[in-house]
């Protein structure tokens, strides 16, 4: 315990160990960043509580004349789509897809792989470091988008077969199984490329911190590798890791939206911003029913924008020269 407490005194300035609360206070001074945080909290809350918040069932069709492609009204705030489904409800369920996707990718690719492998590589060094960073180099050198496309396209037919299997052998319905499998595939195709950047950032920080006196002191006192990493290296690494993560969030969430737009991600009837946009984005459709594209695209564009603003503000607060050599 004594070691952990003395760490603040022994911390060298070059290894970014500025107290986190001070950084938060600077961040709080940035109005745009605060608005961005507020929007993100709202987006995540709405996404998680989608079944409670959505005014209608997002799959409830109404094909009667006058019920399809309505403009915004008191009953349907964002209007209805080509099948008479309430657009606001579909947007809210799309937010749920985006929220689940970012959480899954951040936990597995960001925290588990990015932070975990970065810490291991930086603290252990030697062949562990070499192996992890070489794998990262190979993955980092791949053209990500076309590879993710190739993976998802390659599994497309197999997904349908598997989903039928689920319907026949379990209580899960075909549509549910298909959505779940699609989700797994696109997350599985995104994660292998999502960890490399954050692992690099974490590794270089861990390399600097492990040379500091308080780490040597902890090691000399016989602290286990696990304890040194969790109690002494991790706190110093976190700020930059979070900066990197928030800067890359828009890109990760964008992968699902883009794949769904191309028909390779989450398919209708399950809701995704990508499929909503592709249904509304034909120029003739947009000319007649602009609310369909504007209503579906605005929330997700603001979501990307908020992450970008937050990432930008955090870089400014914590490490202005992060992205430079």
């Amino acid at each position: 315990m004594a070691v952990a407490e003395s760490s603040a005194i022994l911390a060298a300035p070059e290894a970014n160990t500025r107290p986190r609360w001070a950084a938060l206070r600077v961040l709080a001074g940035k109005k745009l960043a605060l608005i961005a945080v507020a929007y993100l909290l709202l987006f995540y809350a709405v996404g998680l509580a989608a079944p409670l918040v959505a005014p209608y069932d997002p799959n409830d069709q109404n094909l009667r004349v006058g019920e399809t492609r309505q403009g915004p009204s008191a009953d349907h705030w964002l209007g209805t789509d080509a099948l008479g489904r309430d657009l606001l409800s579909r947007v809210i369920y799309s937010a749920r897809t985006t929220v689940l996707f970012t959480v899954v990718v951040v936990v597995t690719g960001g925290f588990f792989l990015g932070l975990g492998l970065g810490l291991l590589a930086g603290y252990r060094g030697g062949w562990v470091d070499t192996a992890i960073m070489r794998v990262g180099e190979v993955l980092g050198g791949l053209p990500t988008l076309i590879l993710i496309l190739a993976i998802t396209a390659a599994f497309r037919t197999r997904i349908t077969d598997l989903a039928y299997w689920f319907e026949d052998h379990t209580w899960v319905s075909f549509a549910e199984a298909k959505t779940f499998l699609k989700f797994t595939i696109i997350a599985g195709a995104t994660v292998p490329f999502a960890w490399v950047g954050s692992a690099r950032i974490v590794r270089s920080q861990a390399l600097a911190i492990r040379e500091l006196a308080y780490v040597t002191a902890a090691e000399a006192m016989g602290a286990s590798t696990w304890r040194v990493i969790v109690r002494h290296i991790l706190p110093g690494v976190m700020p930059l890791f979070i900066v990197g993560l928030s800067s890359s969030m828009a890109g990760m969430a964008g992968a699902e939206v883009s794949l769904s737009y191309l028909g390779l991600g989450i398919d209708p009837p399950a809701a995704s911003f990508g499929s909503l946009i592709s249904e509304a984005g034909f120029i003739r459709t947009f000319q007649q029913y602009p609310h369909l594209l504007l209503g579906a695209a605005t929330p997700v564009v603001l979501f990307f924008y908020a992450w970008n603003l937050l990432g930008d503000a955090l870089v400014d607060v914590l490490e202005p020269r992060l992205n430079l050599r």
């Binding site: 791949l142 590879l147 190739a150 390659a154 737009y261 120029i283 947009f286 924008y305 970008n308 020269r321």
Partner: protein, 316 residues
């Protein structure tokens, strides 16, 4: 370039070979083990087992994956990338090259816009640090960057083509006024990223001693900004330019598809959906190779720009 750097460059290039081998094995296995094979793709609805077997034998898909891979590498060494399934009379090289020519010109023009605007915007924001103009400038460009191309393109096509009739649509060759809009849509969102990095770089330079010296000896502010601040702040941008180059060759999937431009991006989407195995494989390997080469190029460019790297060696 100094001899040390030349050696370093060669080592980097040699190290690229095993990396590319590992990538090629991974991608080859993944594509070959995925369900469906080229025979099914070619026959489509007219699928029958007998004809499929004939095709499989003809293209060698009946052999073990390891044998197929060996043959692929052997042919690759002879610059033969295989045959396209969709364009069956053409080799993969013949399919890719004309599209690469279109995409790379599009990409270079877009990069010129991103950097041509991003660099002055970044310098401006850095010099305006502390006023509201700095966050305002950067955050406005970030908004443009946050709009995905498949949202932006219908909006601008509607506003600028249908309503204001400023541009035409449709592919009429690369050197046509119809290409102005795609180049802008591709280049302008990139301004934010360049401006952000340039801003950070300028802020770093501003605290250097030689800037204080320049001010102290009474140089004009304009001279200081152009030849002291901007010139030195440009150095880290070499990395950014270098890392943007592979993206140029990879083409712009959404811009090309939505504007009907026959480039690499459009080809990628088409090839992945079929799937056109040899084309997909060639595009991925090409993308990886250009990434590796770009990284080597970055190191060489640093040697040309930063005299300190050249010290002790021959004239660069």
């Amino acid at each position: 370039m100094g001899p040390g750097l030349a050696g370093y460059t060669i080592r980097r290039l040699l190290w690229a070979i095993p990396v590319l081998f590992v990538i090629s094995i991974l991608v080859f296995w993944m594509l070959r083990l995925a369900p469906g094979d080229p025979a099914e793709t070619i026959l489509g609805n007219r699928f029958d087992e007998e004809q499929a077997n004939v095709l499989r034998r003809k293209y060698g898909y009946d052999q073990p994956v390891a044998v197929q891979y060996g043959k692929y590498i052997w042919n690759l060494a002879h610059l033969d990338l295989g045959v396209s399934v969709k364009y069956r009379d053409f080799s993969v090289t013949e399919v890719i090259l004309p599209k690469l020519w279109v995409s790379s010109r599009l990409g270079v023009l877009a990069l010129v816009i991103s950097f041509g605007l991003g660099i002055p915007v970044g310098v401006y924001a850095a010099l305006a640090r502390g006023t509201f103009l700095d966050p305002l400038t950067i955050s406005s460009w970030l908004l443009l960057d946050a709009i995905p191309p498949y949202v932006l393109i219908p909006l601008v096509q509607w506003a600028l083509v249908l309503k204001l009739k400023l541009f035409g649509l449709g592919w009429e060759g690369f050197l046509s006024p119809n290409m102005i809009l795609p180049v802008l849509v591709m280049g302008l969102p990139g301004v934010a990223g360049v401006a952000r990095l340039m801003r950070a770089s300028v802020i770093g330079v501003l605290s250097e001693d030689y800037i204080r010296t320049a001010r102290a000896k009474g140089l004009k502010e304009q001279t200081i900004i152009v030849s002291h601040i901007t010139r030195n702040a440009l150095l880290p941008m070499v990395t950014v330019i270098g890392l943007s180059l592979p993206g140029v060759a990879a083409g712009a999937l959404f811009v090309e598809t939505l504007f009907g431009i026959p480039g690499i991006g459009q080809l990628s989407l088409e090839a992945v959906q079929l799937p056109d195995f040899d084309v997909v494989l060639a595009l991925i390997l090409f993308g990886s190779a250009s990434f590796v080469l770009a990284n080597v190029l970055i190191d060489v460019m640093y040697a040309f720009i930063d005299p300190r790297i050249r010290v002790g060696g021959a004239r660069g």
